[in-house]
């Protein structure tokens, strides 16, 4: 507060008839003219019009008030506009306060007298608070421009390539030993029926050859500190016992005596204790499964090491903690699927030839356990198949929502079998169907033409599978039971395992479904609740490959646009601050800060706000029991004055 009372200029806007018709502006003007309350009061037709702004500017330059109060429309409409005008007249933008007499009085109060009185109260409140305003100045900060991408599926890969192409250094952190994510486990991408591995192959090699991209595989993110433009990401790389010099020649595979179920094949196929994820993977290097390897169990075997032409086997490899700095983090952790075995009645795991969709994708995959040959347990190709839609979805027990993409995948499953065995009988047992847009819909029609029976049931939940001599009987109350060789359960899409943990590490919010919550569902679907943490692919919500890639591109693009080498980033102006002389270091503000912007300075024994992270919500100011935390532009004094103004206007 300055010693001498600041001079206040008050502008009243008629807003055409919008305000003038409902509020007696003459009376308002009279109420605030003279009496020391204001320096001058000026009524204009349309303040936001070029003429209005020009007049305002003139009045400001002539009278040089310290503070400007504008009684007009909602600040959400024109706060920026008028901040510009006053700034243009050499007055700090924070020395302008709007009184929203249009939306809050003129338009909502029938009685003109009442409307006028309310307008007077609102203006009075604005006056009372505005004289206490302090200048605010835009603040900027140097920023890092590199990216860390969590997840090396198609979305992560796409984002990495895009950022790298813009010259940014990118680090991909992948939990598997090689990139590829879910798409690499898929044979084809519907409805275009593009070969998924073929989509990936060129991108994988591009990644391998790109100097700007570093891949840390067999690794996970253990901690993330910082904020947009300045993140520290801690990564733990698990030992793989094979050096990067390995090119994946597979020479060691033959000599490895240990055969085990392959996770890549979801247990349907096998691999050796030393293996790569798939042929031609990036990174190419194989890895040793320590739990299964005889060398580690009893030291009895050394076969791979002896046979390796590149001396790449390294039994002494250790887990390693790596710290990476970046300006932004892109989350591309993909999705999981509902566990079919959890679904009652559908006998997954108990009845032969009942598969979940991911399992079927492996079976159908040319890089799968059977080289892409769709077959039953007995090795014969299925003559008939039933796909159960929404398996475990739309239920309180399993996935409560519609994933929106499984119907397409279900149809694709039929198509895959149809291609291999054109006369196979295919049933699609469903309640509701979701096919978005012309391509998907056309694909659905094609299935019907090709003879797929779309069987509608209202009793999805009570579908029951039973092993019969001639196959698996699929029955529910309301359709003719069918007996088929193979049943595929179209399971719903869930957040991938570890999402909760990662969200905690990132301090980011999740939505009800457990996916990462978007900063704004419409305006900013690729932003998380944390500035500088982006969402690409399925981690925000289930989507098809095309959307996943689009999101990846959008996320990378937004990050690239925000973080430009040599350019500073603008920071929130209305942040909060802590008065060092008053702070007792009671720490209570630290817990309430939604952005972890407050930390405890052990030397000074006080709390400190990192104004680069602070978004100015003011919760700390409302919390501080010692009156040390202060929210710029919303200080206790200003708000108290506003209250007084409203009540005594």
């Amino acid at each position: 507060m300055s010693e001498k009372k600041p001079n206040v200029a008050l502008f009243l806007c008629k807003c055409g008839a919008n305000i003038a018709e409902f509020i007696d502006l003459k009376e308002v003007e009279a109420r605030f003219s003279g009496g020391g309350k204001t320096m001058f009061v000026e009524t204009q037709d349309l303040l936001c019009s070029p003429a209005g702004k020009k007049n305002m500017r003139k009045a400001l330059l002539n009278n040089k008030p310290d503070v400007v109060v504008i009684a007009a429309c909602s600040p959400k409409m024109h706060e920026k506009t008028f901040q510009g005008v006053v700034a243009d007249a050499g007055i700090n933008m924070a020395k302008m306060q709007m009184a929203n007499i249009r939306e809050q009085s003129a338009w909502v109060t029938a009685d003109k007298k009442e409307a006028t009185l309310k307008a007077i109260a609102l203006i009075n409140a604005a006056l009372e608070r505005s004289v206490l305003h302090d200048d605010l100045h835009p603040r900027t900060m140097e920023c890092l421009t590199d990216l860390v991408i969590i997840g090396g599926g198609i979305a992560g890969i796409e984002a990495a390539l895009m950022a790298a192409s813009a010259g940014r250094k990118v680090t991909i952190v992948e939990k598997e030993i090689s990139l590829g994510g879910s798409v690499i486990k898929t044979e084809e991408v519907a409805p275009a029926m593009e070969c998924a591995p073929c989509l990936l192959a060129p991108r994988l090699s591009a990644i391998r050859d790109n100097k700007n991209i570093r891949v840390i595989s067999n690794a996970s993110v253990t901690d993330v500190l910082g904020f947009l433009g300045n993140f520290k990401v801690k990564v733990r790389r698990m030992a793989r016992y094979v050096k990067d010099s390995c090119i994946g020649c597979e020479a060691c595979f033959e000599v490895c005596p240990v055969t085990m179920k392959s996770g890549f094949h979801l247990g349907l196929g096998t691999k050796k204790a030393v293996s790569t994820l798939f042929a031609g993977s990036v990174p190419a290097a194989a890895a040793i499964d320590k739990a299964a390897c005889l060398h580690f169990i009893d030291g009895s075997c050394n076969a791979c090491a002896t046979v390796c032409p590149f001396q790449s086997i390294d039994f002494d490899d250790q887990d390693e903690d790596i710290e990476v700095t970046a300006g932004a983090v892109i989350v591309a952790t993909g999705y999981g699927t509902a566990r079919a075995s959890d679904i009652p009645g559908l006998g997954s795991g108990k009845i032969d030839n009942v598969y979940s969709m991911p399992e079927f994708e492996r079976i159908a995959g040319s890089n799968g356990p059977y080289g892409g040959e769709i077959r039953l347990k007995n090795g014969k190709p299925p003559r008939s198949m039933a796909v159960i839609h929404c398996a475990g979805s739309l239920s309180d027990s399993g996935v409560s929502y519609c994933s929106g993409i499984c119907c397409m995948t279900a149809a694709k499953a039929g198509e895959l079998l149809h291609k291999k065995t054109p006369d196979a009988r295919i049933f699609s047992v469903h309640d509701r169907l979701v096919f978005n847009g012309p391509q998907q819909h056309a694909f659905y029609e094609k299935q019907i033409e090709e003879g797929t029976h779309y069987v509608k049931t209202a009793q999805l939940r009570s579908i029951c599978l039973a092993q019969k001599d001639d196959g698996i009987e699929v029955s529910a109350g309301d359709f003719q039971p069918m007996t088929v060789d193979m049943v595929v359960l179209s399971t719903g899409i869930t957040p991938p395992e570890g999402t909760d943990a990662l969200a905690r590490i990132l301090n980011a919010d999740l939505n009800e479904a457990g996916f990462f919550k978007a900063d704004h569902p419409i305006l900013r679907a690729i932003g998380s609740s944390i500035d500088g943490v982006y969402l690409a692919g399925c981690c925000a919500s289930p989507c098809d490959v095309a959307t996943a890639i689009t999101r990846a591109q959008a996320a990378a693009g937004d990050a690239i646009a925000k973080l430009v080498p040599g350019r500073k980033i603008e920071l929130e102006v209305m942040t909060s601050t802590i008065d060092e002389t008053k702070c007792a270091g009671c720490k209570l503000c630290i817990a309430v800060c939604p952005y972890k912007a407050i930390t405890f300075d052990a030397q000074k024994k006080i709390s400190v706000i990192n104004e680069a992270i602070c978004r100015g919500c003011g919760t700390c100011a409302a919390t501080c029991p010692g009156d040390a935390a202060r929210a710029y532009h919303f200080t206790n004094q200003q708000i108290m004055a506003e209250i007084g103004g409203l009540l005594h206007g």
């Binding site: 338009w107 909502v108 109060t109 609740s529 952005y595 919303f634 206790n636 708000i639």
Partner: protein, 143 residues
């Protein structure tokens, strides 16, 4: 007392409730002029001191309006407000201030109608309760 014309202060968060009020304005939804708005960035910014000051300075009722749970622009400021005012309300009732005079509620940016209804209901409720007369108390016996 039909002629009793209460004053009600509503602390509204910038992102949801203030916008909701703007929308009510845009749709010309009429509500009692007794309700006067005060903008804060987040319902989590509303310090119980503000509410007490409003009562002391002559408000007959006070509302704090924020985003619906889960929709807070600042993640969970509204939940902090909820917890705070849960405790605060118990103190208020000890101080003899009736429940109906204070209200914490959620109004989203889209809920113009809900804003109108909330404002109207609050005004009716406070009208029924009559003047708070807190200043009557503060007008002390001491000269």
């Amino acid at each position: 007392m039909d002629d009793f014309n209460p004053t009600i202060i509503a602390f509204v968060c910038n992102w949801c409730s203030y916008a909701g009020a703007d929308k009510a304005g845009g749709q010309k939804l009429q509500y009692p002029s007794n309700v006067k708005l005060l903008r804060v960035m987040c319902s989590g910014r509303v310090d119980p001191q503000f509410v007490m000051r409003a009562f002391r300075d002559g408000a007959d009722g006070v509302m704090v309006l924020g985003c619906h749970p889960g929709d807070c622009h600042y993640r969970n400021g509204n939940m902090k407000a909820l917890r705070r005012f849960r405790l605060f309300e118990r103190m208020l009732s000890q101080m003899g201030i009736e429940k109906g005079r204070f209200k914490l509620d959620w109004v989203s940016a889209g809920e113009a109608k809900r804003f109108q209804e909330t404002a109207t209901e609050m005004t009716d409720a406070v009208k029924k309760l009559g003047p708070l007369h807190l200043r009557g108390m503060v007008e002390r016996e001491v000269a």
